[in-house]
């Protein structure tokens, strides 16, 4: 499809305000006479609140209120179940809020918080999901589930007996991943006040203003129409702003005191007030024939849901559905579990359950390739999904499945300096151009070290990701469009721009349809009083889903505009009318054309306006609860990455020297933003693979600070070469699919596989810290080096 504005590197409108420091995040707004709220959180992972003594705090000059559970009209919230208290009486994790203090200054509020005495009855707690699963451990949510198993998803496909019988090679391994924090740079903040209408107005940074509105209304006993959630600039989200953090507390205090309430988390408080990425244990057994075809796979996945349900059911479902990797396996037996414990609650985080399994399935692929004596690329090519492939859930993949194209693009980069095997390999995935091959030649030669102690290696990782809510839950986005009298237009949508740039994508879509430029379009989003509910900015769904809604809306307005113009120009049909460069007229007849502005203005004088409202719904089917069979997601996005690493065998330190990332995007609506998503994903993948880890001791976070919870700096991220494959997705706007989450998935595997390539040790538990690498190396050398691969 020929497009002008769509597909071009349009500059984001919001970038200017951000480089000048003008953009307002929620901490940057204040109101006269505001109070400051500070939360008192439980230091215990499992306890009952027996008493709260707030007299001393209230006696402090400047303290206005101390609110506890008894002050909350409806004391619950939650994305799937309302299983989380606004203010807890029964504590299920360290950090559960038990009281909130309001005072004239932040200093007084903090001092008063220390004076509130909470008397706890401490209960025995459970931190290991496997222990928590047993029937001996009392359930943390008896009202939801009789045991701590919140969710079990089985996938049953084919016959395991047949599968294992056909397998010439079988590899079996246990993998594990860690608790990870989103570590978005902007800590949670809220400004809540009751306005002149008597409405509860909450200004915050969220991924879903309409969800927040519903939870605030529920907790306070208000109607949706009485609550306005207005999204300020969002300083990163990555899934960590899907659950409620401070919003209800601030609203509750504003409602009870009738004063504006400002609440701001410190970084430490932030670590305690949002979800975490699920740590998982994954036991994998995979079999292949001697010609490298996968024939059987068994996996048991146990995810630590922590103290509350949040999105755990959906996350562990996604783990199961994606557990095979993007490969055809006829016989599959998967069990995936989400288990309650007294650890910090797990929820949504970029990759949403499909990030953990990448470590397992891509490590298994390399292990199989090694056992079979074929290259990592070759085994993937022999098994990858293509159009017509059937997934483990029995879903037949139609349409855009361009993993072959992604692998074709990356193949030259996997070539080692003195190793021509890859280029000689006649892949049925097409030829790579010499230009690419030349560019791609890496600095790694077989057995080549930059020095004796530092060894280099290359790793490949592939991944797939089903976008959208999935599993039969209707995925609805909505948008309003108005074409103005001067020929410019406004789009209103609930879809929150969390920093990824969705607003500017919608501007491009509307500009493209109306023959305008991006600058001619105003996009306003994430305000519940003026924009329609467009679902969460999550599940890699806003470009695709809300993009579709915006496209439908602008086309609806455009149809009436074209009809009006056809009548005006005495053109027999609207098909004969075109919108181009700010003009509207009869195709191929420059004499019958006028500025769009003039047409819209004249139409108004005749009582005609071009305003539209549309929704777009993506549908999936729920999987069968017994067999896991169904078509849970659409569309799927694919990608592969190559990482080159250098491992210091003396210190165990890994440096990532280069990453090449190739991603399937359907159509890159804005190539600059696509590259931005890829690079951001790669950096998060590197952090996840190499150093990010929340250290917990009995549910308490030992490193709730950026000095001890390390995220990648500019020196940890290598040069990233980002490529995209455009194989249009017929259901997407201009053929586009989402990319946000898939971008980080292959990195994890590419880095881990590259470490193995460099030093011959396979790290199976994330993160691959220097300690783990050194002890694996030690074992490796004890066993005589080459040959015996060591896992740790």
């Amino acid at each position: 499809m020929n497009t002008g504005v769509v597909g071009s590197r349009v500059v984001r409108e919001d970038a200017w305000g951000k480089v000048f420091g003008q953009t307002k995040f929620p901490a940057d707004v204040n109101l006269p006479d505001q109070l400051y709220g500070v939360v008192i959180r439980s230091p215990h992972p499992h306890a009952r609140v027996k008493n709260i003594f707030s007299e001393q705090a209230m006696a402090l000059a400047g303290v206005v209120t101390v609110l506890t559970a008894k002050d909350v009209p409806n004391n619950s919230h939650g994305v799937l179940f309302r299983d989380q208290p606004v203010l807890a009486e029964y504590i299920r994790m360290v950090g559960d809020p038990v009281a909130v203090v309001g005072a004239e200054t932040l200093e007084i509020a903090r001092a008063a918080a220390k004076l509130v005495e909470v008397d706890y009855e401490v209960l025995p707690a459970v931190f290991d999901p496997e222990e928590a699963m047993t029937t001996e451990v009392l359930p943390l949510h008896p009202e939801l589930r009789p045991t701590n198993v919140l969710y079990h998803m089985p996938i049953r496909r084919g016959s395991m007996e047949e599968g294992w019988a056909k397998a010439d090679v079988v590899v079996e391994q246990e993998y594990s991943t860690q608790h990870v924090d989103h570590a978005f740079l902007q800590p949670e903040a809220v400004l809540a006040h009751v306005d002149e209408r008597g409405h509860m107005v909450v200004q915050t940074a969220t991924q879903y203003a309409h969800y927040d509105r519903g939870e605030i209304a529920h907790a306070l006993g208000l109607r949706f129409s009485q609550v306005q959630v207005k999204t300020m600039a969002v300083g990163g989200a990555f899934g960590g702003r899907e659950d409620i953090s401070l919003q209800i507390l601030a609203a509750l205090m504003a409602w009870t005191t009738l004063r504006p309430i400002k609440m701001e988390n410190t970084r430490e408080e932030s670590f305690y007030s949002h979800s975490k990425r699920h740590p998982m244990k994954m036991h994998y057994k995979t079999g292949a024939t001697k010609d490298g075809k996968l024939v059987a796979m068994e996996a048991k996945i146990i995810g630590d849901a922590g103290a509350y349900a949040s999105w755990s059911i959906n996350v562990l479902r996604k783990s199961a559905v994606h557990a095979t990797g993007p490969y055809e396996i006829p016989n599959v037996f998967i069990d995936s579990y989400a288990v309650f414990t007294n650890n910090p609650f797990s929820g949504a985080m970029r990759g949403f359950g499909a990030a953990q399994t990448v470590l397992a399935y891509e490590s298994q692929m390399d292990l199989l390739a090694e056992a079979l004596g074929i290259s990592p690329l070759e085994i993937r090519v022999r098994n990858m999904f293509k159009v017509g492939s059937t997934t483990a859930t029995g879903q037949v993949l139609t349409g855009s499945i361009p993993l072959d194209q992604c692998l074709t693009k990356i193949a030259p980069y996997l070539q080692k300096g003195d190793d021509s095997q890859l280029l000689q390999l006649k892949l049925d995935i097409g030829e790579s151009t010499p230009h690419e091959a030349e560019q791609g030649t890496s600095t790694v030669k077989s057995g080549n070290f930059s020095n004796r102690m530092k060894k280099r290696g290359l790793g490949l990782g592939c991944a797939w990701y089903g976008t959208g809510y999935g599993n039969g839950f209707p995925d609805v986005s909505s948008a309003f469009v108005e074409i103005h009298d001067d020929g410019s237009a406004t789009v209103l949508t609930g879809a929150v721009d969390v920093g990824q740039g969705s607003n500017s994508i919608y501007a491009q879509i509307v500009a493209e349809e109306l023959g305008l430029q991006s600058e001619d379009i105003c996009v306003y989003s994430g305000d519940t009083d003026s924009t329609p509910d467009s679902g969460t900015t999550a599940a890699t769904r806003q470009t695709y889903n809300t993009g579709n809604a915006v496209l439908k809306a602008v086309r609806q307005a455009k149809v009436r505009l074209l009809d009006y113009a056809a009548h005006k120009f005495s053109c027999p049909t609207a098909e004969g009318i075109e919108l181009k460069e700010g003009y509207i007229g009869v195709k191929g007849d420059p004499t019958r054309s006028m500025p769009l502005a003039e047409m819209v203005f004249q139409a108004r004088l005749h009582g005609e306006r071009f305003i539209s409202a549309e929704s777009s719904t993506a549908r999936s089917t729920p999987v069968d609860p017994e067999t896991g069979q169904g078509a849970p997601y659409w569309p799927y996005a694919f990608g592969c990455q190559m990482a080159e690493v250098e491992v210091d065998t003396e210190t165990g330190l890994v440096r990532v020297l280069k990453v090449v990332a190739v991603h399937d995007v359907g159509k890159a609506l804005n190539p600059t933003q696509v590259e931005g998503q890829i690079a951001g994903g790669v950096a998060q993948g590197i952090g996840y693979a190499l150093f990010e880890e929340l250290e917990l001791h009995e549910g308490k976070i030992k490193n709730p600070a950026f000095s001890s919870y390390l995220i990648p700096t500019a020196l940890d991220v290598p040069k990233i070469e980002a490529f995209f494959v455009e194989d249009p997705e017929c259901t997407g706007p201009f053929g586009a699919k989402g990319l946000g989450e898939p971008a980080m998935l292959p990195t994890i595997a590419a880095v881990i596989n590259a470490i193995n390539d460099a030093v011959g040790v396979r790290i199976t538990s994330l993160p691959a810290t220097p300690e783990k690498i050194l002890s694996a190396l030690e074992l490796f050398l004890k066993k005589g080096g080459a040959g015996d691969k060591v896992g740790i």
Partner: protein
């Protein structure tokens, strides 16, 4: 309470403050310069970066009183829509801005580097920017933007 004098973005402020007040609080709360962001409060993230007498400083780590008599540049003192600083222009055009929370600090670190070294090497750029954390961009386009200005010269 003590009296201090700060020159912020070429404007002189005489303030009567609590000696315990951090510079970031004085900038944000007393002066209303909200472009300086607080991301961690312990000098790790660099979102609160300001330039003091030619040096980048985490304004969450110093007391306002320590900056008495100093010349301070915040993001509000660097460029505007009519005449953006080359670093700001490059950030926008290269696509180095996503959520924007780290951006003011990033711009100031880059500006200060280029004020001192007109044509820094990749390594010098990496080191100069490594005190500013970003969770969205993977730094790729940020480093490219700084490099573009470095190559174009004349800041």
């Amino acid at each position: 309470m003590i009296d201090i004098k700060l020159v912020i973005n070429k404007k002189t402020y005489t303030l009567n403050i609590d000696p315990r007040e951090r510079l970031i609080d004085v900038l944000r709360t007393r002066i209303g310069l909200m472009g300086t962001k607080e991301g961690c409060g312990e000098g790790e993230c660099g979102a609160c970066t300001v330039i003091i007498d030619g040096k980048t400083v985490n304004s969450c780590l110093i007391l306002a009183a320590q900056a008495d008599g100093c010349d301070i540049t915040t993001i509000e003192g660097v460029g505007n829509r009519r005449s953006p600083h080359p670093v700001q222009k490059a950030f926008v055009e290269v696509g180095a801005v996503q959520c924007g929370f780290c951006t003011p600090g990033m711009v100031l670190s880059a500006k200060n580097l280029l004020d001192k070294i007109a044509h820094p090497s990749d390594q010098e750029i990496g080191i100069a920017m490594s005190g500013n954390l970003c969770r969205c961009t993977g730094y790729d386009k940020i480093l490219r933007a700084v490099k573009r200005v470095a190559e174009e010269g004349e800041v």
